[in-house]
């Protein structure tokens, strides 16, 4: 039986189920309590678990991110919400110098079971409210970086994140959070019971032979829409949903590229010095340069996200631009 939850409901469901079984989990962030999050992804939790375990915080991100670190060291399992990932610049210090490094700096004697939950991606609010930034977290060692694409994965990966003894940055996509399960081309069915999806396993969401299309988060749905359109031209990309940037599931990628010989990375994050370059390089390191006949990247072209819709659509990957990128590769074969 399928339920037509929104993504944010699946996330709230996962957190609620984990909080029931583990009293050490607590949730802190702006507006996570009384209203259950600006997107509703913590809705009903404060009523169920009280205002000490689900806490509305002042706009003091550095303080409450660092509180997460202290809480994790005192045997709690904090989930810290940074409303939008764009705001990470006010508290990155505690994220990368404390949360991410303490397990290593302590010689493995201190664990850091902490989840940073945050919303990325573009919904029309311009340069300071539209970024993805998973490439930024991924560059800094010590964090698992997860960005789910569909309802089933959101629930399963959030459960896995809350059970991990190591830090996880869980990046939702603003354009997905209010989307209903049934509208998804992939992963729309969400079981009511508790389940986890192991962190670090990519998912082949569509098989194909012409090229390997690697992407993550909302772009997975965009790619699937593009694929439907491309069917008419008889082009069948194999579409891989990375699910997590760290760990990066290179084996699944390599297997596919071995088959297709062609690699297209689609990334809603900035093009350079991030995910797309790393994916290309890892594949080459794994298979050797000769294994690749074609390589292309389709990502935000290293500019801030502009306000005007006309400009925004020109820089953010969508179904049409993805289909276009695939066609260009086919044409250049």
């Amino acid at each position: 039986m399928s339920r037509n939850l929104s993504i944010s409901q699946t996330v709230a469901e996962a957190i609620g189920l984990e909080m029931e079984r583990d009293p050490s989990i607590l949730v802190m962030g702006e507006d996570v309590g009384k209203i259950g999050g600006v997107f509703g992804s913590t809705r009903t939790l404060q009523k169920r678990f009280g205002d000490k375990r689900v806490r509305d915080m002042p706009i003091s991100e550095m303080a409450f991110t660092g509180m997460g670190v202290g809480l994790a060291m005192s045997d709690m399992r904090p989930l810290i919400e940074i409303m939008f990932v764009d705001f990470i610049g006010v508290c990155l210090e505690q994220v990368y110098n404390a949360m991410a490094k303490i397990p290593y700096m302590s010689g493995g004697s201190v664990k850091m079971p902490m989840v940073i939950k945050t919303a990325g991606g573009c919904i029309g609010s311009a340069a300071q409210h539209s970024q993805c930034l998973w490439g930024l977290f991924a560059h800094l060692p010590g964090m698992q970086v997860v960005a789910p694409s569909n309802p089933f994965d959101h629930k399963g990966l959030m459960s896995a994140a809350l059970r991990s003894d190591n830090p996880v940055v869980f990046i939702e996509h603003k354009a997905l959070l209010l989307k209903k399960a049934e509208t998804f081309l992939n992963g729309g069915h969400v079981p009511e019971e508790r389940y986890t999806i192991p962190l670090g396993r990519a998912n082949v969401v569509r098989e194909g032979d012409d090229l390997t299309l690697v992407t993550i988060s909302a772009s997975v749905e965009y790619a699937l829409e593009a694929a439907k359109e491309l069917e008419q031209d008889g082009i069948t990309p194999e579409i891989i949903d990375l699910r997590s940037v760290v760990p990066l599931d290179i084996d699944t990628l390599a297997t596919s590229v071995n088959k297709t010989g062609r690699l297209l990375v689609v990334d809603e994050d900035y093009l350079s010095f991030g995910l797309s370059g790393e994916v290309v390089t890892r594949v080459i390191e794994k298979l050797g340069p000769s294994a690749l006949k074609q390589v292309a990247r389709h990502a935000v072209p290293d500019v801030p996200i502009p306000a005007a819709k006309t400009l925004e659509q020109a820089v953010v990957p969508g179904p049409a631009s993805i289909a276009q990128a695939v066609r260009e590769m086919q044409a250049a074969r």
Partner: protein
């Protein structure tokens, strides 16, 4: 102080934001929109206190402060409506208005207005210029670390920084008294040797005289000033906010009791400064001006997609 001017300014602000609202359902404004509706008295007070060279650094809820600073209304509205003719050629949008000619800027990041304003203040101070930098923040923004860092620096060196706190009681859904260690924000001023005062921000004349004091304090080289002005946010945090955290009836009564325009209208009538007819007329005129402005802006073009990569660097066109 020209009382009718105050009234006119508040009308302009209110009606400016009301025409902005029309862009939301149509998708002309396709991102978040934060209006200042209900907070006009503070905006008008700011307009009355600013000298041309003063700097203003505002927040996500910035329209009234931009108007106060003298940013051209048409350029602003066109930017908010994402037009090529906009103040920032449609690149910035509602949360990112930049007008160098009027030393006005803003940011969508809470708390981030203070350091930038402090930069202006430092510049005025090092050149012995008689200007002030006004940083705006909401109540919620005062719990960010920038509040402390900037006021301490301004206090240590007597920099001309005025912090105008629009305390509308809420940060989205979080009410300030649940997250504030002291009864008022203004009393923190003592920790920085700063001037501090809390004032009823719905009364335009009251807030104007307090803000005047604050600005004069800073302008005279006595260091920073914090003015906490209470107000009521009439609408949701942003357009689309369900606003489920406030009771409908409370909202209605608050809107009635704390509408700065109604309050001032009644005052002007009670004092015999003006007549129903005159004030109705001013109101209509203002509404018509804004309607006309909207119509004209709507005729403008959206930016051409080919320019999406321009201006990453100044002087650079992709």
């Amino acid at each position: 102080m020209d009382k009718l001017e105050h009234f006119r300014t508040m009308l302009t602000m209110r009606h400016f934001d009301e025409v902005c609202l029309e862009g939301v359902p149509t998708g002309e404004i396709h991102g978040e929109l934060h209006t200042g509706i209900g907070q006009e008295a503070i905006g008008a007070a700011l307009k009355a206190c600013l000298e041309p060279e003063d700097a203003v650094v505002s927040t996500h809820r910035n329209h009234y402060h931009a108007i106060a600073a003298g940013v051209p209304l048409r350029d602003m509205l066109a930017e908010i409506f994402e037009k090529e003719t906009g103040l920032c050629q449609g690149r910035g949008g509602h949360m990112h208005l930049f007008d160098k000619a009027h030393n006005f800027s803003c940011t969508g990041i809470v708390g981030a207005s203070l350091p930038v304003a402090l930069g202006y203040a430092y510049k005025f101070w090092m050149h012995d210029e008689p200007h002030v930098a006004v940083a705006i923040t909401g109540d919620g923004g005062t719990n960010n670390g920038t509040f402390h860092e900037c006021l301490n620096i301004a206090g240590a060196w007597n920099l001309p920084l005025v912090l105008l706190v629009e305390n509308n009681l809420l940060a989205i859904s979080v009410s300030i008294d649940e997250v504030l260690a002291t009864p008022t924000i203004a009393e923190r001023a003592a920790a920085y040797g700063a001037w501090g005062q809390k004032v009823d921000g719905a009364e335009v004349e009251t807030v104007t005289s307090s803000l005047t004091e604050a600005v004069e304090h800073a302008r005279a080289g006595n260091g920073p000033a914090i003015l906490e002005a209470t107000c009521y946010r009439f609408r949701g945090h942003f357009e689309g906010d369900h606003d489920s955290y406030r009771r409908m009836d409370d909202k209605r009564t608050m809107r009635e009791q704390f509408d700065p325009i109604t309050l001032y209208r009644n005052k002007l009538l009670a004092e015999g400064v003006s007549t129903e007819a005159e004030l109705d007329d001013l109101t209509q005129t203002s509404q018509q001006e804004m309607a006309a402005l909207l119509e004209s802006v709507r005729a403008d073009n959206l930016p051409d997609a080919s320019g999406a990569r321009d201006y990453l660097f100044v002087g650079n066109r992709a």
